[in-house]
Amino acid sequence: MYDPTVVAAVAAAQAEYERRVQEILSQAGGAVAPPRTQSGLPLRTLYTPADVSGLDFFADLGFPGEFPYTRGVRPTGYQTKEWTRRQVVGIGTAEETNQRLRYLMKQGQTGFSVCGMGYANYDSDSEHALGFVGKGGVWIDTLADMETLLDGIDMRAVTINQIGHSIPIFAMILSVSEQRGIPIGELRGTIQNWVTPGGEGPARRGNGSVDILEFCTRHMPSWNNSSISVRNTRDQGCTAPQEVAFGCFQGAYTLRAALGRGLDVNQVASRMSFFLSAENDFLEEIAKYRAMRRLWARLVRDRFGATDPRAAMLRFHVQTSAINLTRQQPLNNIIRASLHALAAALGGAQSMSVNSFDEVLSIPTAAAATLSLRTQQIIAYESGVTKVMDPLGGSFCVEALTAQVEEAAREILERLEAMPERDAFDAMDEMTRDEAYRRQQAIDRGEMKVVGVNCFADAPEDDDAGQPRIEALRYDPGCRDKQIRRLREARERRDPRRAEAARQRLAEAYGQRENIIVPMRDAVTAYLSIGEISRIREEALGEPFVPTTWNFGR
């Protein structure tokens, strides 16, 4: 990218500069440990063209919308399509969540994202639901709840994101769409789906995640068949290069499973999407998004032989980090989340959810959720950063960091790919737990600063650094009784013969390892509840009842 003679001169001057810096530092009080990113990558305190002399502009960077998409997947970026404002919502029963969604949409929310749907394989009247219903997300028992949840929401106008990959929930979304006369082929949205080891044989019959890939590829051309979710892994403590590597590993694993089902690589990969975090280390995070776009593009083209340009484009939703939010001085979380969101915007996210400052206390209040939406809007409309594409591209530092993250991630990815598949999944868990432990130790020792917790903390008699007392949302324990009433009403209203026929049909489909999506749609349309559906699956497959898995098909 640069004239080699210029680079050589710069490198010599840089060495001289660093020598001078060392001299000043040693006079000022001895050796200083070289700085590192939050993930532990070595940093220089100043970057020059000599740090990026190996970059090939066209091969490594290029233009937005061009391979390897380091600078963005669309030629026009945010100029023609803003990122989707997609705050996560999930509170109480479907009624309360619907009200919150409609309120946020009036405030400028443009996407649908609901948590809690189908996380549990039992009904609200089960012993397992005690203390849970409507506490950490919305509770859904039957299609009647999904009808309420989507009431007044134009399914053609918003892109729907299903958190978790519960197949009954996916089937309910399809069912409501059909009720409204909207062909499912026109639906736009995403299911947080990815494949993990399971199922039978090369075609993976019995793995519901692959059923979702197959169904979406054949019938829903505008729906993202997967959302490779490494954001939650990152929030469990892993590093930025691990987030990139784990995402690419799981993405490749998911793609291979789809190919095993006989699907076309271009079709499937074009509709894969990713779910990433936004962490504290601002520069490293921006580098991370760029590095991951480059790594994924090369992986899909070179390893899988994809030829459709869209197949190699890494598109992602970001939910800002929660692990960094603090219960102490909670208003500080507004500042943290703003920086996280800014990194995501500079990194070219397609969709975003900014965590609310009070989420460390409870489900956000309406005011806190709105403030998160305003954070996105202020970045989008006031900061000016969206006017220029990949504005930090070309920064010596960000380009060097992008290459470092990519290289570190590639090494981890190669290690994972060399392992037997189950071992690789275990290894990702183990690495994440190791990092989480290291992180906690670093916080406890004060090596990793957390403002308001291990520095600038309040003495016990202080009042949260003068911050006003936060009134967190209170949980209404009557929520479960209300939900149980909704469940009973749905059971009383349904046609028992139709329910019985759907029950038999679903059991048969499970028994014969058919693609489960259509029989599941029929089952939910007959108002079978999620708990009933789990029992049917359990009996048909003879598998023990696992109270909390997010997928019914594995």
Binding site: G131, G136, V360, R433, A436, R474, Y475, T549
Partner: protein, 134 residues
């Protein structure tokens, strides 16, 4: 001689398990024995406490209501003959729940921001003043 302790660690749901695993490792490094019980409902926790001969229970609650779950757990513990076994709650515990949890006899509550050392010290002290299961 300082007594070690066998702590049963459980959680209310499978997700958001960072703290659960970090604390398990922290207690082990502090010389305690930990049994990872996973995500369990109160009835199953009580049964596990008996089967595993636990000296104390560490209960991570984040997704559900702490007062509702702990009240049920205390009933279940009484039913299996473990009345008085120390129950320590960690996670996201709303301020308004604190008096009720104390009244239910919870031995300790740790909120986000607690250090591993403070948690290990608490369990170590608990070991000195707690009867062990036979």
């Amino acid at each position: 001689m300082e007594r070690s302790m066998r702590v049963l660690l459980v959680q209310d749901s499978t997700g958001h398990s960072t703290g659960y695993h970090v604390i398990s490792r922290g207690l082990r490094d502090a010389g305690m024995e930990t049994v990872l019980g996973g995500a369990q409902i109160p009835r199953a926790i009580a049964r596990l406490a008996v089967d595993e001969a636990a000296d104390a229970i560490g209960y991570r609650i984040m997704d559900a209501s702490p007062t509702i779950l702990v009240e049920r757990l205390m009933e279940e513990l009484e039913r299996v003959g473990l009345r008085g076994i120390p129950v320590v709650v960690g996670g996201i515990v709303p301020e308004e729940d604190l008096p009720r949890l104390t009244a239910l006899g919870v031995a300790g509550i740790f909120q986000p921001g607690a250090t591993l050392d403070s948690i290990a010290t608490f369990f170590r002290d608990l070991a000195q003043r707690t009867a062990r299961q036979a």
